[in-house]
């Protein structure tokens, strides 16, 4: 028993001191496990999820919705960019950022927290607060902890996650999207005079350090609130599903 206790204490100390290196070493084993689990997850839709439509149809519809949201956001971004460029001819784009591709090596999914660990860390320029996106520019989370060789990404729907967002609703309503129980986000304190509708696209506002504007966060699912109250609330549905990806891109700000 004493030997076991000593071994456990030693293990804890080793894990604590060499967390980054350990994660890097374990990533070799974990990466294929995550890929296998994700593959099964993607191909098992309809078996474990009680889908009313066929798995193929559901995947096609989800892809169609994601594509429409991406196109809508892109159109809005281009329109805004066009206006801005017209107004500021000669403006130099100072967006110095690059994307670092990373593999998910472990996950923890629950109703109260949702995080995953990737195999890139400080040595790759990753910092706390850097956004994690999928290939289409859909934001899935932000880096919440980082070691030399690994980083923990807190999913945007995590209860402890808050993201500065803007709605593509004409008036560009801004707010903070906060994770709530389950896989949804809540956008609060929206003034009553702002017109928010279901299916409005939600993007990052760019008012947050390290997070550029225009990353797609999700769509408005429900708008609630008493019309006589001071503020209205919206429930947001994230577009990115972390259970169906095993690689992400981390957007890293580069020094000027």
């Amino acid at each position: 028993m004493t030997t076991t206790l000593i071994a456990i204490a030693a293990l804890v100390a080793v894990v604590f001191l060499f967390r980054g290196s350990l994660t890097r070493a374990l990533a070799v084993v974990e990466r294929p496990l995550v890929s296998a689990g994700t593959w099964i997850s993607v191909h098992a839709i309809g078996i474990f999820d009680s889908a009313a439509v066929s798995p193929e149809r559901l995947l096609a519809l989800e892809a169609q919705r994601a594509s429409a949201v991406v196109n809508g956001a892109e159109l809005e971004r281009l329109r805004a960019e066009n206006e801005e460029l017209r107004a500021q001819i000669g403006f130099i784009n100072r967006s110095h950022s690059r994307a670092v591709t990373a593999s998910i090596v472990s996950r923890s999914v629950g109703p109260e927290a949702s995080t995953f660990v990737v195999d890139r860390g400080k040595n790759d320029g990753i910092e706390i607060g850097d956004p994690a996106v999928t290939g289409d520019g859909i934001m899935v989370g932000k880096v919440s902890a980082v070691t030399a060789y690994s980083a923990t990404v807190c999913v945007i729907s995590d209860r402890n996650s808050a993201t500065a967002v803007a709605l593509l609703n004409g008036t560009r309503t801004i707010g903070i999207a906060q994770g709530i129980s389950g896989a949804l986000l809540s956008l609060k304190y929206i003034p009553q005079d702002e017109h928010v509708s279901v299916n409005d696209i939600v993007i990052t506002s760019g008012l947050e350090e390290n997070v550029p504007s225009g990353l797609i966060v999700g769509i408005v699912n429900t708008v609630t609130g008493d019309p006589t109250a001071l503020f209205q609330e919206a429930v947001l549905e994230p577009i990115g599903d972390v259970r169906r990806i095993h690689t992400v891109s981390l957007i890293v700000a580069e020094a000027l």
Partner: protein, 181 residues
């Protein structure tokens, strides 16, 4: 020194399997409590006292790697480990399927109870951010999944006993089914 090293290697392998493979599965399968089930099996059915350490260790593993499913996982899993130890020794010491399942259920309920306390603390500050329905739903699925896992382990008892008798994880001279002293 070889046995603790082997036990730690096995613990890490199963922890990685849970956080890598099972956590990537869809729906309820993402909540599969693999390490807790093995810890409970080792303690209740195989008589191996390192079982509770597997359970408590998994909480630490989640917190140290910053991938907890709930806040303060070390405390929740430590409580579950203590309950697994006490219930296996004093309450459900009969190594039948019923004893094993009862021990597993009680341990998972204690894990849920500590998590509920944590959630209650959060709900006092942010009542709108807590969904008790989702919490209850997860707990029920955890109980169902641990019952299934323990049943599988119970069915594989002979093979597990043969593996344990090799002496890599427990003493070669000790019968895993020998009653507690």
């Amino acid at each position: 020194m070889m046995r603790p090293t082997a036990a730690i290697a096995l613990f890490l392998a199963f922890s990685i399997l849970q956080t890598g493979f099972f956590a990537s599965l869809t729906g309820i399968l993402a909540y599969t409590p693999l390490v807790v089930a093995i810890g409970i099996y080792l303690m209740q059915h195989a008589g191996e006292r390192t079982g509770p350490f597997w359970i408590a260790g998994f909480g630490m593993f989640l917190d140290l790697l910053a991938i907890p499913s709930f806040p303060f996982e070390t405390a929740s899993y430590a409580a579950a480990g203590i309950v697994a130890y006490l219930s296996a020794r004093h309450l459900f010491s009969n190594r039948s399927w019923y004893g094993l399942i009862a021990c597993g259920m009680l341990s998972m309920l204690s894990l849920g109870a500590v998590r509920a306390l944590v959630i209650l603390g959060i709900s006092l500050r942010h009542p709108e951010r807590v969904s008790w329905i989702t919490f209850g739903d997860t707990l029920i699925w955890n109980l169902i999944l641990i019952t299934l896992l323990l049943s599988v382990l119970f069915a594989l008892a002979r093979q597990i006993r043969a593996f344990l008798r090799l002496g890599y994880v427990v003493s070669r001279g000790r019968d895993p089914l020998k009653p507690y002293e």
